[in-house]
């Protein structure tokens, strides 16, 4: 295994910072371990906290190619692993029939149509058969049915894919695998057991401020601090959907565009619709911010 990829913990953290991803202790440790142990990482947490972003950033940091498999209900083998190119196979058979008397043995033909040439690779197979370094992102794995999850198990634990007609294809390199989940359902034990587990929650005040400072151009330290504080305050209110980090960033960008130097209640209320997506949440928050203060 390439133990030269990341030197140590601080290297991981600095590397991520270089690609504008601010990792906390937990994130850095898990990414570091994932590479050291060659294990996939299962990332859970509320929407918009940078789960997918982490995988992209790790790819950018290690200069690896990112292969992404977006999961959805109804995803199957043919779309995730590999598929035989039926049309091409049919053409091949027909072409054969068209030519001379079909003297060729059926088995020979069979060997012919079930080989690499007729195989369409899908993300998972592509990830392990690639020669270069790969970061494989399996996004929103909680969306597939429990039965489909089993598809992933072989590749996650042994980094190989078994194709009945061809045999087992083993990985040329161990890809770094990230699975993200919004926790809409409990994932199976078998899957969890094979992964390192990382829960990414809303960031602490300081980290959120840092994120705002790195990601939003031209924002003053003072404004970033205020933004982070107000967002934390809003997250404490019981809402249908708390503002996520990406929404915080959108909000901060808007404020910068509007030329706001320091936020007062009115401005906050007027731009709340960027942070919150439900009318009832907006109303409730607006009320809270004015009354209690």
């Amino acid at each position: 295994m390439g133990d030269t990829m990341f030197g140590d913990l601080t290297a991981v953290r600095d590397g991520l910072k270089d690609v504008d991803y601010l990792a906390d202790d937990g994130i850095a440790s898990v990414v570091f371990l994932a590479e050291k142990l060659g294990k996939p990482v299962l990332i859970e947490g509320p929407a918009g906290t940078g789960k997918t972003e982490l995988a992209k950033s790790v790819a950018a940091m290690s200069k690896a190619r990112l292969i992404r498999l977006q999961c959805y209900e109804g995803l199957d083998e043919a779309k995730a692993l590999y598929e035989w190119n039926y049309k091409k196979q049919l053409l091949r058979i027909q072409a054969d029939r068209g030519s001379e008397t079909s003297s060729e043995d059926w088995t020979e033909l069979q060997d012919d149509i079930f080989n690499d040439e007729f195989l369409l690779t899908r993300p998972l197979l592509e990830a392990i058969s690639a020669e270069e370094k790969i970061v494989l992102l399996i996004d929103e794995v909680d969306r597939v049915e429990v039965e489909t999850e089993a598809l992933l198990l072989e590749i996650l634990s042994d980094y190989q894919v078994s194709i009945p007609e061809l045999g087992t294809i083993e990985a040329n390199q161990i890809p770094l695998v990230f699975l993200t989940s919004n926790n809409t359902r409990e994932l199976s034990e078998a899957l969890k057991r094979r992964c390192l587990f990382l829960h990414i929650d809303y960031p602490q005040l300081e980290r959120e401020k840092e994120i705002v400072l790195t990601k939003v151009e031209g924002i003053s330290d003072n404004l970033a601090e205020q933004v982070a504080r107000i967002v934390r305050s809003i997250r404490q209110i019981e809402l249908k959907k708390s503002p996520s980090v990406s929404e915080t960033l959108d909000w901060a960008r808007t404020l910068v565009l509007l030329g706001v130097q320091s936020i007062d209640v009115e401005q906050a209320k007027e731009s709340l619709h960027i942070l919150l997506k439900y009318q009832s949440d907006i109303e409730k928050t607006a009320k809270e911010l004015t009354v209690e203060g």
């Binding site: 440790s29 371990l33 050291k36 049915e145 057991r193 390192l196 107000i230 404490q236 019981e238 007062d264």
Partner: protein
């Protein structure tokens, strides 16, 4: 180190976390790559390999604190091999217990000095100072007695009482007011207050950790871990859940209802394929030179599942009812058609209350105040409530409806009217009953659960999240 790790894992299992053998091995492998001095990284390495559910994080943290808190470099109790050095541990302990032994100035201060230092530390968010003050405060105020088999709650209470953190809060706010020349906007004031609240929370946690460290030093990790063991969130009994636990349960319900909706929906989706779609089949066949190699089928028309929830909200299940209402509310967001009814001895429909109110607290409040559920005396009367249900709404139950009854079936010896459940079961697709009582109590006293149970598709004990989840899983 190996002993320590296996002890740690055993304790995690005792606390209810499912740690498999492979995970254990992974953890062993993981810590090899982590420098032991880096406590945070060490902790996250263990967590990543051993804890696969965010709900278990708290339990993990407690056990981790107990097992590894003494093993930091700041306590100098580790020798080179990472083993505990008994002598230095003892020395450190006696120092802590006496509280006066050469620990430097922070340890022998008067209460006023501590308060003042703490105030400044909080004001300036000086973490090192806060930790030092937490240590000093515990020494001064907790009055810890070696050898007592306690979990530390009392010590924590004593320390906090002496620190008067509410007073501290007021002082902090005053100081902040002065610093900004008294012209803080309400928003700023709110933000400042939250910042200080946050720091004080940190301080409390630090104090708690400090007490725990000393208790571990005194009593040993195993005994301490045992005292601190608490049920995992999914094992917390709805009937005896504390406020904080209830909040956790509420959060966990949301995904469960989504799962329930998915289960009911999936059943109908996978049951059969629709009839042959002739046009699509012909179109598809063109790519195979006119051979209909891949027949196409129409998707079956999805019939939306309808849910009817009938919930007991009487006093005997008051705590469960709180949970029930949250469950109903969450369900309402998942299913296209939910009708909800609540009853004590009368019965009322509350569907509209949940629909009108975007906010769950308001909705629950409205149900509790507005719903007309008392008929005679406000003691449970399932018989009468069911009678009303059948009379007014029975005709609306059809072959698409799934009916869920929630209640303990404690009927105060009234007539049961079990025929209502029987008739409902005849018309509805399925009927389930969730009972918040332990199974051993069923049919004791005035409980008549079996009379109803015979007509349902199943009665399930439902006292904690694990059981609720089991119920949802079994549906498929």
């Amino acid at each position: 180190m190996l002993d320590l790790m296996s002890g740690f894992v055993v304790e995690l299992r005792n606390a209810g976390l499912p740690v498999s053998l492979t995970e254990n091995l992974d953890a062993m492998e993981a810590v090899k790559h982590i420098p032991i001095e880096d406590r945070a990284a060490f902790k996250y390495a263990l967590a990543a390999t051993l804890v696969k559910n965010e709900q278990h994080w708290k339990a993990f943290e407690t056990v981790f604190e107990v097992y590894f808190s003494l093993r930091g470099p700041e306590y100098n109790v580790l020798d080179e091999d990472g083993e505990i050095d008994e002598d230095s541990l003892e020395e450190w302990m006696s120092q802590q217990m006496r509280g006066m032994g050469g620990q430097g100035s922070a340890e022998d201060m008067s209460p006023e000095e501590i308060a003042e230092m703490l105030f400044r530390a909080l004001m300036n968010a000086d973490e090192a100072m806060m930790a030092a003050m937490a240590r000093a405060a515990v020494t001064q105020f907790a009055g810890m007695e070696p050898g007592r088999p306690v979990g530390g709650t009392y010590y924590l209470y004593r320390t906090l009482r002496n620190l008067d953190l509410d007073g501290m809060m007021d002082r902090l706010m005053e100081e902040a007011q002065q610093r900004s020349d008294g012209d803080m906007t309400p928003l700023q004031e709110r933000l400042e207050r939250e910042e200080f609240e946050n720091r004080i929370e940190d301080l409390k946690r630090e104090i708690e950790a400090e007490i725990r460290r000393r208790l571990v030093a005194d009593r040993g990790a195993e005994a301490m871990a045992k005292t601190l063991r608490k049920p995992l969130p999914e094992d917390v009994d709805f009937m005896h859940a504390s406020r904080e636990e209830m909040a956790n349960i509420r959060k966990a319900i949301q995904p469960l209802t989504r799962k329930l909706a998915a289960r009911l929906a999936r059943k109908r989706k996978h049951k059969r394929k629709g009839p042959l779609d002739f046009r699509a089949t012909v179109r598809q066949s063109l790519s195979y030179g006119g051979v209909p190699a891949e027949p196409r089928f129409r998707n079956p028309r999805p019939n939306k599942p309808e849910l009817v929830v009938v919930a007991d909200i009487s006093g005997s299940v008051a705590a469960f009812a709180r949970f029930t209402l949250h469950l109903v509310y969450a369900l309402q967001n998942q299913f296209s058609k939910v009708r909800s009814f609540v009853f004590i001895d009368g019965l009322d429909e509350v569907t509209h209350m949940f629909q009108d109110e975007e906010d769950i607290t308001n909705a629950v409040h409205r149900v509790n105040t507005e719903a007309d559920v008392v008929w005679v005396d406000g003691h449970s009367d399932y018989g009468h409530a069911f009678g009303v249900f059948w009379e007014n709404f029975g005709s609306e139950i059809n072959s698409k409806s799934t009916v869920m009854f929630l209640g303990d079936a404690r009927n105060n010896y009234h007539a049961t009217n079990a025929w209502v459940v029987k008739e409902t079961a005849k018309k509805a697709r399925s009927v389930f009953w969730l009972n918040p009582e332990p199974k051993s109590y069923w049919d004791t006293g005035d409980s008549v659960i079996t009379e109803y149970a015979t007509h349902t598709d199943g009665v399930f004990e439902c006292r904690n999240l694990r059981q609720l989840e089991g119920f949802v899983d079994n549906l498929a």
